[in-house]
Amino acid sequence: MKMKTIKIQLETLTCPSCINKIEGVLNKQNGVDDAKVMFNSSKVKVTYNEEETNPEEISAIIEKLGYPVLS
């Protein structure tokens, strides 16, 4: 198991209710160990297992939820 942590920058988050939404969905994904939304800096911090998922897949999920990923 190889764990890695990335920070994904989103467009400015405005409603705190998106925190639960994004965290909830990401935490259910295979290979995601821990997802935390940094509301104030509009980032998502994700710890994931490199063998099961990758940053592109995680970013895609966030985009699908309706939050454009900047980097």
């Binding site: 405005t14 409603c15 998106c18 939404k21 909830g24 980032k43 699908k64 309706g66 454009p68």
Partner: protein, 641 residues
């Protein structure tokens, strides 16, 4: 199928324009078909982005507020409330737009700090200058910084000299002179000189990068109040939805049921605490004060007892020669010969004497021989054929050196003034006394007064130094209580003792020697954070500059932040209560519910924005403070132990 921010803003604008058009039509011919059509179109324009978001979340099996609003809007359309539908969807979007913009202002401090990050670096490679992105500099590279340029790495100056503005790190804009061998930091600005720097820390390892990282993490650390609010919200939303369904089923009043859905998200409540904390932490960071989270902010605001370490915190931590008394020879001769003996010494008092001699331009010509260190006393050596002793009184007595009444009186007087006395004897005869003291920081007395004004009840001091020296410093500064001659573990137990006596204790020290005591206190404050990683890790609050005067600012900022947070919380709670009562008593409907909701969110954010400009835009309430103590009037007799 994402709708980007720009499209959404256009849709909001169009929908707003249509609402105005509908109003115009209404004024001309109330209740016309044209009015309804315009309203329906407005509702669709604003409703579609909300519905898409709701659908996206639903697809991922996630619940969202957008879903509630979509249901409310669609429901309102079905029962023919076109105005309500259009206004609710427009306000929801417009509210988000305004929130986005005002929220950015609460985050402005950190943003402006991040903008100070260096982008490019010029390095010397094979004798050539090349410019590369700052993050590509390697440890060991020679970095060139031109006058006016930004330093891209942490490192040591190899050549050159310059005044450097370190505001990005310390929050102090007074430039500091740096020359060969001095430490410089990434993101600071070289003012007037050319510098060549050896890169020691680059990229994410620099002090600046660590500050940004720390502040970002700190902003997310939840305050205790925030945790309470989130728990409240976690029950509130489902509770309101259930209420909506029950009320709808019992009364069969669809309009009322839909209104509940609109007020189900306690937006102002959830955002009330984080916005204040973010603005407060950001303000601190910009002023060289790193506060590690909302909870630490709350703790700092509650502190009533401040415990200081003495050496290096209240004092400069650099001993200086304060007086030279010579018997039978000139003071320069005395200083010269003492320095000649002490030149090999590793002792900090010895070094202080040598430094003083060098400052005075005295040439050290003679070399000592047969140097004998007398542990705990001083040292003895042969110099120019004469036996010289430099050390304390007990060492002199041990060697049988006679100390007459005059010298003894002088020594006592010096000690009373907080000095350490060094005896110098030549062939068993005292030829002089050099007094050395660690001077109190220049800003310390004023800081103590400001701390009292900031509402700190007790100022205390812990030190490993002897009682007399400690008392002297305490007297100069008006410190209430002194605990002297402590070992590091004694400091820890003292702090624990104060805590268990029911005080809210903050301990401030230099972060290295005092790390255990700092970790023990309710709030650990480290000074001079540019020093080490250890400092950054153990302390709850880090004052980046090596100066005391940021301390009152930090405490006032914490109090202002907590006050702001409370204003927001109460305001949000009252709004929620009013909305509920208003809906239940049929005073508030879909559109007005959404309007009040959005206004309350914006007001809460705007209130927090005031903190970005702290200490401006603050109303200071002068509470009667019965606990505040006046500076204690020490009498001279207290000092003669």
């Amino acid at each position: 199928m994402n709708i980007n921010t720009k499209t959404r803003n256009i849709l909001t604008l169009v929908s707003g324009g249509l609402l105005l058009a509908a109003l115009a039509v209404y004024l001309l011919t109330p209740g016309s078909l044209a009015q309804d059509i315009i309203l329906i179109v407005a509702a669709i324009f604003a409703g579609v982005p909300i519905a898409i978001k709701a659908f996206q979340a639903l697809r991922m099996k996630a619940f969202s507020i957008d879903l509630l609003v979509t249901i409310a809007v669609v429901g309102a359309m079905i029962i023919g409330e076109y105005t309500e539908a259009a206004v609710v969807s427009f306000l929801f979007l417009f509210g988000h737009y305004l929130e986005g913009h005002t929220l950015q202002r609460t985050r402005a401090s950190l943003k402006s700090l991040m903008d100070m990050a260096p982008l490019e670096a010029t390095i010397l490679k094979n004798g050539k200058r090349i410019t590369i992105p700052a993050e590509e500099v390697q440890v060991g590279d020679h970095v060139i910084v031109q006058p006016g340029g930004k330093i891209p790495v942490d490192g040591k100056v190899i050549t050159g000299q310059s005044l450097i503005n370190q505001a990005a790190i310390t929050g102090e804009s007074v430039p500091v002179n740096k020359t060969k061998g001095d430490q410089v930091f990434s993101s600071t600005v070289s003012d007037n000189g050319y510098l060549e720097i050896l890169a020691e820390k680059v990229g994410d390892d620099t002090t600046f990068a660590k500050i940004i990282e720390l502040v970002e993490e700190a902003q997310e650390t939840k305050a205790k109040t925030q945790k309470f609010m989130e728990r409240f919200a976690a029950y509130y939303t489902p509770g309101i939805i259930i209420l909506s369904v029950i009320v709808g089923l019992i009364t069969l009043n669809v309009h009322l049921a839909l209104t509940f859905l609109v007020i189900a998200c306690p937006g102002a409540l959830v955002i009330s605490v984080p916005v204040s904390i973010v603005a407060g932490i950001g303000n601190g960071a910009k002023n060289g004060i790193l506060i590690k989270g909302g909870d630490k902010m709350e703790d700092l605001a509650k502190v009533n007892t401040l415990v200081f370490d003495k050496t290096g915190t209240l004092t400069k931590g650099k001993p200086e020669v304060t007086d030279i008394k010579a018997y039978g020879i000139s003071t320069d001769e005395l200083l010269q010969l003492t320095a000649e003996v002490e030149v090999t010494s590793e002792h900090h008092l010895g070094k202080t004497i040598v430094k003083k001699a060098e400052e005075k331009g005295l040439k050290l010509v003679h070399n000592p021989s047969d140097v004998e260190i007398m542990k705990g006393h001083g040292l003895r050596a042969m110099l120019n054929g004469q036996q010289i002793y430099v050390g304390n009184k007990s060492g002199a007595e041990k060697l049988g050196i006679a100390i007459d009444i005059e010298a003894n009186e002088y020594m006592l007087q010096q000690q009373k003034n907080g000095n350490t006395s060094v005896f110098i004897a030549r062939d068993k005869e005292v030829i002089g006394i050099i007094s050395i003291a660690d001077q109190v920081r220049e800003e310390a007395p004023a800081t103590m007064n400001q701390l009292r004004n900031a509402g700190i009840g007790d100022l205390m001091m812990l030190t490993g130094d002897n009682e007399l020296v400690a008392q002297k410093v305490a007297y100069q500064l008006g410190i209430d209580k002194v605990y002297a001659e402590l070992l590091p573990e004694d400091k820890v137990s003292k702090v624990t003792e104060l805590k268990t006596s029911g005080r809210n204790v903050a301990m401030i020290g230099d972060g290295i020697n005092d790390a255990p005591a700092i970790a023990t206190a309710d709030v650990g404050i480290a000074m001079g954070g540019t020093g080490t990683d250890v400092t950054m890790e153990t302390a709850d609050i880090i004052l980046m500059s090596d100066k005391l005067d940021k301390l009152p600012y930090a405490i006032k900022l914490a109090k202002a932040t907590i006050r702001n947070m409370k204003q927001n919380t109460y305001f949000a709670l009252i709004t929620v209560a009013l909305l509920l009562v208003g809906v239940l008593t049929d005073k508030i409907h879909l559109a007005s519910g959404m309007l009040i909701h959005e206004i309350s969110v914006i007001l809460v954010i705007l209130n927090a924005v005031r903190l970005v400009g702290f200490p401006k835009y603050q109303v200071w309430f002068k509470w009667l403070n019965f606990n505040a103590k006046k500076r204690k009037e020490h009498t001279e007799t207290q000092l003669t132990v």
